[in-house]
Amino acid sequence: EPEVTQTPSHQVTQMGQEVILRCVPISNHLYFYWYRQILGQKVEFLVSFYNNEISEKSEIFDDQFSVERPDGSNFTLKIRSTKLEDSAMYFCASSNTEAFFGQGTRLTVV
């Protein structure tokens, strides 16, 4: 069964550093997303990507964040100058109709 794959599963970074979270969406899906879940809280939408551009973004997705689809398979989330409050689980998802999620990347900013 096709699945969304995320790497790494866990990333520890120092405050102020840049991180890149990577995702390989399901190959025939057209829509890609990033969500985050701060520990103990609900899952929050960050950004969606369609036809090689951002189609929607939330107020959380400010200039600190960017997304890219550098080739035909990968979809990345870059977080510049990480802050302690960026510590969360980051989920990539892809869809045509219903969204399928990756297993998540746990980001810890120290």
């Binding site: 879940q37 189609s55 297993q103 998540g104």
Partner: protein, 116 residues
């Protein structure tokens, strides 16, 4: 903006029994989708069931079924013959049917415990 409310932070059920998780939502749209996702301790988000708002028939997926009440904006999940592996956090989610508006709005979740 749409909102999704899950009023039961925690629920428990005896193994083999039936449990119903509640979800209400608020929207001004007439066409949309509703979902239940399961998040086990591994924290992966797993799609359990989906309902299209234009369909009157309630969705069913094996032991999982929904009670969709469009006028009341209610979307509850029933788990029959509960199994230990059903223990997880369950999230209700809403998605507009509008073109290019595909983000999911999640509720705050219900933690389900299955008692042996």
């Amino acid at each position: 903006a749409q909102t999704v409310t899950q009023s039961q932070p925690e629920m428990s059920v005896q193994e083999a029994e039936t449990v119903t998780l509640s979800c209400t939502y608020d929207t001004s749209e007439s066409d949309y989708y509703l979902f239940w996702y399961k998040q086990p301790p591994s924290r992966q988000m797993i799609l359990v069931i989906r309902q299209e708002a234009y369909k009157q028939q309630n969705a069913t997926e094996n032991r999982f079924s929904v009670n969709f009440q469009k006028a009341a904006k209610s979307f509850s999940l029933k788990i029959s013959d509960s199994q230990l592996g059903d223990a997880a956090m369950y999230f209700c989610a809403y998605r507009s049917a509008a073109p290019l508006t595909r983000q999911l709005t999640f509720g705050s979740g219900t933690q389900l415990t299955v008692l042996p």
